[in-house]
Subunit: 475 residues, 4 copies
């Protein structure tokens, strides 16, 4: 570890860098200052290449600028910025000193700083989404699918309000995470794909560009096309902020899905529940003072990072406001945006790793369920009585459950002995009767639904397309 790590201010740059240097390096490749400068240089190069394509400068000028753009580093730019106190002018100077005098005037020509910075941000965020965020979320999705498929038929007690409700399967429970995370990955991909660039000048009206070309909006499209971007429909000095807000929204809602899953898993690890368990290394210490503790700290970590990152979307929303053709109060605040991706990726990485080795205690699930099965009968009992015409089935069963509780007698037996219920029960089909006799079978479509959801999102992971859930209906 370089000593700078320990003197860093942000936990992203000290603690979470130390915890996973490889992941940090991967994040840094897209989200650091260095990366941002690299993308800015690509934009400057694309502009001069577009000039050359229009014949506004010789081709070798574009070649020189492109070559220089490949050489300039963030450190070079920083050196120039010490003098100019302006980051993009520094970038231009760092490029200029590497090209011939002939080429210099074409660098940054007609562009305003925000043309370069906003376009670079779009490139950077899109690449970070493609190469880091989405792949990492897909790792988590794969891990969810693996559990949901493997445990599709594992009975588990369904819980609402923290209370036992009616049975599901553990795979069904995990299929919730599959479906929600799948939907969010698509949202992240789409929002990243839509991030636009701009080359519309100081106030968005192409004032400078029009001095040189008659159709600066077409020219803008040519410059951005070289980078694989579209222009925003309308720009001021900056692109419309809603594209970035949509992207931030996709990121934080994806994070919310992870946080919810983490919360569920850590509660399932409660001592009294114990249905799943986080894996522990041999040398790992769970508590500095309680040597017996095995804490769900990885899943706690995911939720904790979510709490750290979620509120930052407020900054993005506040940055929707920029006076007239732009004030600069979205500049420093915007620089923190990449941290949102870094935080999400760190959490997803932790989650994927822990899900892959999550222990599932099927026996404990069965044992936990067993204690409540007597009461579970209440719902199917009421539904079957009503379906066969009992006019006040819910109220009747509610009274029986109170009696069962008071007397300690099983609800089923009380129902079986009830003269008033007998005529309705006589009409039940054998299959309906069986659910009352074996309430553990009262699983609805849990398994089929789990598998259908997994099929859908497995197909997406393979093909990039998430088709309809038709599998579920036809099973």
């Amino acid at each position: 570890m370089p000593s700078a790590v320990f003197s860093a201010l942000s936990p992203l740059d000290h603690r979470y860098r130390m915890a996973n240097p490889d992941l940090y390096a991967h994040l840094s490749r897209y989200l650091s200052e260095e990366a941002y400068v690299r993308y800015q240089l690509q934009v400057e190069a694309a502009l001069v290449e577009a000039f050359a394509a229009r014949g506004l400068c010789p081709p070798h000028v574009a070649d020189q600028v492109k070559a220089a753009a490949a050489q300039v580093t963030a450190a070079d730019v920083h050196r120039h910025e010490q003098i100019t106190r302006h980051n993009i002018r520094a970038l231009v100077n760092a490029l200029s000193e590497r090209v011939s005098p002939e080429a210099r005037p074409f660098i940054h020509l007609t562009a305003t700083s925000a043309d370069v910075m906003d376009t670079a941000r779009a490139l950077q965020y899109r690449d970070a989404a493609r190469h880091v965020v989405v792949p990492k979320l897909k790792e988590v999705l794969r891990a969810f699918i693996a559990i949901a498929q493997r445990e599709a038929h594992t009975p588990q007690m369904g819980r609402t309000h923290g209370q036992h409700a009616v049975p599901i399967t553990f795979g069904f429970a995990m299929a919730e995470d599959v479906s929600r995370l799948g939907g969010r990955i698509v949202a992240v991909e789409q929002a990243a794909q839509r991030l636009p660039g701009k080359m519309a000048g100081a106030v968005g009206a192409y004032n400078a560009a029009r001095l040189l070309v008659p159709d600066p909006d077409v020219f803008e499209r040519e410059v951005l096309g070289r980078l694989g971007l579209e222009p925003a429909d309308h720009s001021t000095q900056v692109v419309e902020p809603e594209y970035g807000a949509d992207f931030a929204h996709a990121l934080v809602t994806a994070f919310g899905v992870l946080a919810n899953a983490a919360d569920d898993i850590r509660h399932l690890q409660r001592t009294e529940i114990g249905e799943v368990g986080e894996a522990f290394d041999a040398h790992q210490v769970g508590s500095s003072t309680m040597p017996h503790k095995r804490n769900p700290w990885n899943f706690e970590h995911v939720k904790s990072l979510w709490k750290a990152m979620l509120p930052r979307i407020m900054t993005v929303y506040m940055d929707q406001i920029s006076e007239h053709q732009r004030d600069l109060t979205n500049s420093a605040s915007g620089r923190f945006f990449p941290e949102l991706m870094a935080g999400l990726v760190l959490a997803a990485d932790r989650m994927a790793r822990e899900l892959a080795r999550l222990g599932v205690d099927r026996e404990r699930m069965a044992r936990n369920m067993a204690g409540s099965l007597e009461m579970v009968v209440a719902e199917p009992l009421y539904v079957l009585l009503a379906a066969h015409g009992h006019p006040a089935a819910h109220e009747e069963v509610r009274r029986l459950t109170l009696e069962a509780e008071r007397t300690g007698q099983p609800l089923r037996e009380l129902a079986a002995r009830s003269l008033s219920l007998a005529p309705y029960m006589a009409q039940w089909t054998p299959e309906q009767r069986r659910v009352i006799d074996e309430p553990a079978m009262y699983l609805g479509m849990a398994a089929e639904k789990a598998l259908a959801v997994c099929r859908r999102w497995s197909a997406y992971l393979e093909t990039g397309q998430a088709g309809p859930l038709t599998g579920a209906e036809t099973v």
Copy 2:
């Protein structure tokens, strides 16, 4: 005004009701408790109708329930809830007492409360979006378009950092609002359209429904289809929360666009700028103590409501977390969601009205611009020098502007007298030279862009389709 208004706790129910009773009534039609109960009744009716369609109950039973659903009021339900302490059981009881004993058992059969409530919310929000939110936002959009078209050629100084930058037209400035608001209306429409319902039972696994039908997910689609809704891909007791979060995001970002526009307009009303003016009624009092004041209070109001409503999206994001198959901690919080729509509509209504009568002082715009035109020359001067090969045009012009400032001599004259610049200036085309001579013409594509953006969104208002911006490029 009924006296209950003055005793209300929420400004939505006192002050903003008093301010606009008609709009309040319109909002109340979709967003009140009464409205919510009405939508719940529609869901209960659809369920029994779907039973009848499957032959699980006689058709006249469905007819009875449908008729009862049209009669029950929120007050009826409230009366029952005093006893049951459970709102949906109260709803069921209020329906039951209006139908024959034969029909009673089929009401709410296999459904859980959240089936009814979540589905009713989807109906309610979709209708509110269609009939209140989107129409009101379109009113604002129309008002923006009207100004942007009318003022497409009105020169105005472009401002960045609150400083004069280079010229635009006032229509171009307003076209920003057209484009951004247009995009957000589409986002609100789409998010509202995607809101799903559910009829999947207590934990989402169709446990109860499967007692009666072999394909409860298909049955769910049948019930919801009667209401024009799709089911969520996967439900627990509740639908996946991301659909609602997407809708909330569309609402708050639409609000952000209004807030930004309001901010710009109130700044343009500053005494020293005075380019636009809010209309005043003859009897209206601007200040209780300064009888001469005319304050931009309507636009201040829009921004203020935005500040009141924006943070509430944090609640929506926190509600992404619900333990296991659901905890109830999203219940009370979810009840405040309609206020977000109400707040947005109130602000939009105010905005549409004030935009329609906004005074625009073209002469003041021209006067404000005149003071800075000398300096505006700097940008085209530098661009033209560079485009014709000057290797350090930006630095050279920067030095000349400092000299112009120091000496009080016009930048243009300093440039014209410069021997070193002469060879480059000699190459300029007459059109290029003209921009330097008449910097007020340095408008870029401002007018064309404004009109193209307006054409695009006018087409959307007429056809519901927002085509590409091709108009801009071909002008």
Copy 3:
């Protein structure tokens, strides 16, 4: 229920009004529009009385204004506002029409609207804090104390990370809520007490008042003194916003304490834990479809309201910014502030009621603890070994716990059989040994601390003074 209730937009004005009409009426007395107007009238009266005291107007003029102020209603003001479109000018007109022509000029003389509104808000919030918020929070505090004292000696398993850690008592767990809530009540009281008024005119510089008195800041103090308020140190058109922000902070952090307690209690109600239970009415329905369900919905409600209210403090923080001597963008947003108090009071009321009848299952607590006592031994074992000189006690015990887990043998027996530990164990005092033999006694100071905390805050409830925790140390 008046029908206006069902058409209201805010759940505060429909659902939560219906749920508790008495509490609603009590809240409305301080937090409604009506109440706000009443406080504004008090401020107007105090101003004229201060004029009379200075001899600037005859005493009977002040008497007339005071009498009129006691008569004017919100409805009267509203009628006038229809014409003036200005709420405070309307208030002045409503007063004026009730006094003699001689008295009219003195009403509102030298005051700006914000003098009246900001001062009225301070009065209103202070009264609401004194008469509603603090008393209701004290009810909750009393309920916490009652449980903490009663259960001071009830052993319960301490839980960290949702895992059994080491034993405490249930009273100790509740004492956390006593201490934290106690601290927050003091914070609310102090912040409410510090809310200042102002009578400094349109821009805070006493411009108008100085026309009539040579010492307008002293005169401001006289006016406000009649209302029991201090002036802010410096005002613009409005008082310094930090006083209100401090008050909001006290409110939301008090709410956070309730939310944390609610969360703990609902988790203790989980089916698998079952240590406490929410009381249920005989006719109450727990679930519309699962007649057996008893959900912790009241505590869920508390957390849910917290999620609804917490983010609103962002509005308060954003309202710290007001341009120059004031922009009006804090006006509409500020009108929602009273809802924060209403939400907190609703949650506290629910909490107090439910705590008073919370079922505590001591036997279940004991049973839950019993399952983990073997492992609990790990901590005291390690501490006692270390205290008697074992150089690697933590690591040694960690290894033994792994062995205990693997072999199923009790940790104590493994320790007792260990030759390497024997020399250290031989030095233990009988009391130390006893903790290892009866780990249920490993309760630390739980009971004493619980009682000391309760003593401290009981004293506060009686005397208004929270002394030091000396009780704890001397027990």
Copy 4:
């Protein structure tokens, strides 16, 4: 610049480090991971020293641990953490390997990790407040005072709603910032001072400590007393979170004051207003494309950083909830807390520097005011008419202002010619008349108030005590 800077993820660790390496080093001394480890080591040392003082271990053991604590580095701890995967156990191991076997068992004895971490955080935050945050805020305060005193008598137009209202002095406007920031510095100091530590063990009940001492709460006070801290009134595994929330609130509200001041200053720099100006270096580039631009980017930066930091208090509020005796979901989130201080200090540093060289254009202030003086007369005219008995002065003057606007005649002349006003105007004192004749004198107490506020806070800067504002009243 070390290359790690450019690869950092947080702008705090790249861009803002580059911008001011000295300030970064100063912040890092208190807020980095290294600093945090250093404070943890101090806590561990204090614990063993307290053991020695009680005779529970030999004095030389405490000496050894203290010496070791002075040597261990964050890098050492990191090395151990690679094995244990537990940061505090790693810290203990890093200490242990530097002391004799005799001393080892006493390190961390009876403590839980959170005892060390929470206590270290209190030390760290208190020191950061004392040595960085408060001194830097005081620099800003001094700069505000300097301007407010210097410009106490400089007339400036007061502005509400962005509209000219009535005159103040520029010093009075700045005195707002003096007063508000002064109040917040006191709030930061007090909240930092109250941050408590803990040494109460794994669940807060002193379970482990009580094995060794009969009065572990007194012992806790002894340990913490060595560090200058008090214990929290009640702890679970962690200290009551409200102390930290109070500190965060003080920080963000202090930041809000800076943001408001920055907003005001950048608006006063608007081209059309131009009353103040940010200083520019000779080589500085204002815009990459508009060489003439001088942007108020430093003040924009302050507001932008505020937008980045403010929402993070939501994390702190969410962290008020921790299940039972603690879940770990406040761990990662809590690690980002120091960034709040870093962000505030960066903004304050920028602000102090720019205020010190802020250009004030008194002539422009006078010119801006001149344009509105005719209208300013309206307020004193109405007040003086009313004070002398005119029964409808406000309405009468409002009508005259409309007439003045319509006819272009000065309001004063219209008033002078009015027969109905004459009887009231005849009663005016010469001083009253003078305000109408020279409305630029209509300054109220602006200057005296500005100076009184400055005196108060200057005294605070000298003595640490902010006395009452009595100066103002007696002038």
